[in-house]
Subunit: 220 residues, 2 copies
DNA sequence: GGAAGTAACCTACTCGCGGTAAGGTTGACT
DNA sequence: AGTCAACCTTACCGCGAGTAGGTTACTTCC
């Protein structure tokens, strides 16, 4: 019969796909369902069904529910890193670079809420240690990025001071992003400005501790 | 038979307990198992067994696994709030109060790791929206505490500025606490000093924005 | 065109765990 | 002694993660 299928011309339903393409689709669908129902409430059967495929296919490609989550996290991480990396090219001093990076970060969290919710550790620890490690790796990457950024523009500063500054910046960004997406009248740029107003003087003071009045430094 | 039981004199095993006491025991055991295995891997049967009781008792008292988790979170929250509240009595200016609060916070996260791991949202979002709300309530309480602390010592500052400052402080504390417990040669006091060095000048500048050179405030 | 090989896919199952129904035991108070 | 309530148990259900084993369709080579 020439008409190989009957009503199957309906926008290419039930197509067979090569592995790479199917994997991409599965990750996209999973990201959506994880974000919408939460990791626990999301069922593998539902994800499979929305892919137009049966459950064992997902296990074939990703091994486990946690494996699928990790794939989603990895993708979100890549997107985030790309956004931030692109935002800092062209910056000529540390302050400018940090402001740009912060702005890109806030824009990302606002625009890619699904992806961001996966990175928020919210849905991770549930799945086992591997997913948690994956999330911590994302944060550590942020920290390293900040350290690189500081030390590139402001050398000869103790590693530990850089690390502390970076940890604080990352923590502040994370919390501030949650606050800012809840406010309707605050833009990513304003959020970044708030952050810089609060943090930059401290970063600068820590990084080259000169001419800081009323400075009560800890010990050494 | 006078010997009502045989080998039951072994440190009061299988005693009957009044509800309040049993509930306390269950929360203590659950906190331990949640922290040690993670929420998902922790089984209600195991918790029941370690309590020397059968599973339906837990459901009788806490309704669900999530309910038990929430009870644990509430208790950890109470302990944390008590620690911080006590630490700030006697402070006479905002800077001192914030430093004491930060120090108490770091000491708590180091000393009560089990309790703290529950508050770290790590184990929460898994359980459903209620547990997540419970965790967010803890953070919001921290934020309110900071706002109260700032505004008590430094009045006539826009509410929004206080809120931003508080969010940043909370985020920074959270991240810094994770960093500091991993370092063996950093005390809670030093961590608090780091925090103050990085943040205080920004907080002070935001709270009364005078004589801040190069100040590019956002918009209004 | 057809056999052979392989990549994509499915049906039908097991099993562990959260949650529950229905009933048993113990002690306090009359 | 009898009763009532609080404490506690055994024995089950259903759902969803994960799997064993077979089927379909596309490519390749003659």
């Amino acid at each position: 019969m020439t008409t190989t299928e009957d009503a199957r011309d309906k926008v290419e339903r039930k197509r067979r796909m090569p592995r790479a393409e199917r994997e991409r689709q599965m990750v996209a669908v999973a990201e959506e369902i994880f974000a919408e129902r939460g990791y626990l409430a999301a069922s593998m059967d539902e994800i499979a069904e929305r892919c137009g495929v049966s459950k064992p296919m997902i296990y074939e490609y990703f091994g486990s529910k946690e494996g699928l989550l990790i794939a989603c996290i990895r993708q979100a991480r890549t997107e985030l890193v790309n956004s931030i990396s692109q935002s800092v090219v062209g910056a000529e001093e540390a302050e400018d670079a940090l402001r740009r990076a912060a702005r890109a970060f806030f824009e990302f969290t606002d625009g890619h809420r699904r992806a961001w919710s996966l990175l928020l550790i919210n849905e991770a620890a549930v799945a086992g240690p591997a997913a948690l490690d994956e999330i911590e790796a994302v944060r550590q990457e942020q920290v390293e990025l900040d350290i690189a950024l500081f030390s590139a523009f402001l050398p000869d500063t103790p590693r530990r001071d850089l690390e502390v500054a970076a940890q604080i910046v990352v923590g502040a960004c994370e919390r501030l992003s949650l606050w800012y997406v809840a406010q309707e009248d605050v833009s990513a740029e304003e959020a970044a400005d708030y952050l810089m107003r609060m943090l930059w003087s401290g970063v600068a003071a820590m990084v080259h501790p000169r001419e800081t009045p009323g400075d009560t430094r800890p010990h050494g």
